[in-house]
């Protein structure tokens, strides 16, 4: 579904991504793990068009995303839950979800999507009229995820969904990720919590300073000595 072929990305003069190739197949949950600053978020931003690669290709269902305006990539079935949630804090929960369906004009489809999101996240329904900024961190993460689901995307990019959450909420978020995966959504997950990320994923890539250092099935990687030492604290 998503093929990233040998991309290079620069942040000003900094060569942040040095030739990375990643494939995400239909229905897969692929995790991208690595230390802070390894370039995980940069890769997701490049896929969404917020940043541009200087060379290489990004293909979604065979279509090159490199020249597609960033704000129209969502029309191709790709949704992005950004790091730090980036919900609209001065809008209500319901308005945030409505913004997730910005590209949809069919009112019926929007209300169906909203019901589906409320079904996944009953807590959001309870807080529908509350301003996004007044939600707890965990609820904001649910809102950001729910908002991305409003267009019924084929593939979901999730950036550090567990960041800053209490252990109980981390478990809750990962349960939700598994549910989404089981419902057939393809997911590319970026996480610092490598243990959790490897536990839910089918396959994974380990990223070190802009390069892939290891890749394989999530199970294999979780048992690999180097991964255990560097990321799992074993």
């Amino acid at each position: 579904m998503l093929e990233i072929k040998n991309i290079h990305v620069y942040y000003g003069a900094i060569h942040a991504i040095k030739g990375i190739t990643i494939t995400v197949n239909d229905g897969e949950l692929v995790s991208l793990v690595g230390a802070n600053g390894a370039g995980k978020t940069t890769i997701l931003h490049t896929i969404s068009g917020l940043l541009r690669a200087t060379s290489g290709e990004i293909l979604l269902d065979g279509k090159n995303l490199q020249n597609v305006p960033a704000n129209t990539i969502i029309n191709m079935g790709l949704a992005h839950v950004p790091e730090g949630r980036h919900i609209f804090s001065r809008m209500t929960v319901e308005e945030n979800l409505r913004m997730g369906a910005y590209i949809i004009s069919d009112v019926k489809r929007i209300s169906d999507s909203m019901e589906r999101v409320y079904h996944h996240f009953p807590r959001l329904k309870e807080r529908a009229r509350q301003l996004g900024g007044t939600l707890s961190g965990g609820e904001q993460q649910m809102l950001a995820t729910g908002r991305a689901l409003m267009t019924d995307p084929k593939i979901l990019l999730m950036d550090e969904p567990s960041m800053g959450l209490s252990p109980i909420l981390v478990n809750e978020i990962f349960t939700i990720i598994e549910q989404l995966h089981n419902s057939g959504i393809t997911i590319l997950l970026v996480e610092q919590n490598a243990k959790k990320a490897l536990a839910v994923a089918d396959r994974a890539y380990v990223l070190e300073t802009g390069k892939i250092s290891m890749q394989g099935s999530a199970k294999e990687l979780a048992e690999d000595d180097r991964v255990r030492k560097a990321y799992l604290g074993a």
Partner: protein, 298 residues
């Protein structure tokens, strides 16, 4: 009592004008964090558009105020062009300081360009009467049509604008872009188009303010927008810049302060009081009356 009521209505009328202009400042600031110093001069552009088109309207048998529709159009076009030609290219390459200096440059350019046009020149032009003379007598105060229409129209415009930002797709997109540009892109919002739309609306409001202003003070000159713009900017900051209801509130506060100072203290102190109020509010509440900082939660 009658002085009080008279002063109150004058304050509300002035406040309506300030509020409409302040909305333009606040909307543009909200969306690109730029104090658009040229905004005051859009009032002048609207003023001259009306000076030149009111006689045409009247010769067509239409009421003079119809020319405000043309003024809205011209101001919107000038606002959009300013964004496209001046601000956008600078925003891409420069810092917020370069953008601010560009805004001052655009303001000076508009004022001087207007003066260079032979039909405009350096001397003020007098506008014909826009609204009917006369009014209604309430208690022992005469309330003229111009005052009533000014207050009424500006309240209607503000209510419509507020509903527009709350209920329509473009309005919601504007709120999103003003809060978080990259998240807006991820939602599928065309950020550049939304910014241009904001300029069009904000500048259009300046044209409506120009109508109200010359209905009361029928004189149009190239720097007419400077002081008016500055006070409206103060109003926007006072209410909380970037917040739409804040601009409305700030506008009325400034208008009332100005008119009450003129009536009860001294007309030469009015402007001083306006800026004094600004300083006091900023010391007590730096984000403005309705402003608040909502941080990111983790």
């Amino acid at each position: 009592m009658s002085t009080f009521l008279q002063t109150l209505f004058v304050g509300l009328r002035l406040g309506s004008i300030y509020a409409l202009v302040a909305l333009g400042y606040t909307m543009v600031y909200g969306i690109i964090r730029l104090i658009n110093f040229a905004h005051g001069d859009f009032i002048m552009v609207g003023g001259y558009t009306m000076i030149f088109t009111i006689p045409v309207m009247i010769s067509l048998g239409l009421p003079g105020w119809v020319s405000v529709l043309l003024a809205i159009l011209v101001c919107a076009l000038v606002g959009m062009s300013t964004e496209l030609i001046a601000y956008r290219p600078v925003r891409k390459k420069g810092t917020s300081m370069t953008a601010l200096i560009t805004a001052i440059a655009v303001s000076l350019l508009l004022e001087n360009l207007a003066q260079a046009i032979p039909q405009i020149g350096p001397n003020p032009k007098v506008a014909s009467k826009i609204f009917a003379a006369g009014g209604v007598r309430i208690a022992d105060v005469t309330l003229d049509w111009t005052t009533m229409l000014t207050i009424f129209i500006s309240i209607v415009v503000m209510v419509v604008l507020y509903q527009f930002t709350q209920k329509t797709k473009i309005g919601r997109a504007m709120r999103c872009v003003s809060e978080d540009k990259s998240a807006s892109i991820l939602m599928g919002i065309n950020v550049n188009r939304t910014i241009v739309t904001t300029f069009a609306i904000g500048s259009g409001l300046a044209a409506i303010a120009a109508l109200m202003y010359i209905a009361q003070y029928p004189k149009v000159y190239t720097t007419m927008g400077s002081m008016l713009g500055l006070k409206a900017f103060v109003a926007a900051v006072l209410g909380g810049i970037g917040i739409i209801p804040g601009a409305m509130l700030g506008g009325f506060v400034i208008g009332l302060v100005e008119s009450f100072t003129t009536s009860y203290v001294s007309s030469s102190m009015a402007d001083a009081f306006v800026f004094l109020i600004l300083i006091i509010v900023l010391i007590i509440k730096p984000a403005g009356i309705l402003g608040k900082n909502m941080g990111e939660k983790v």
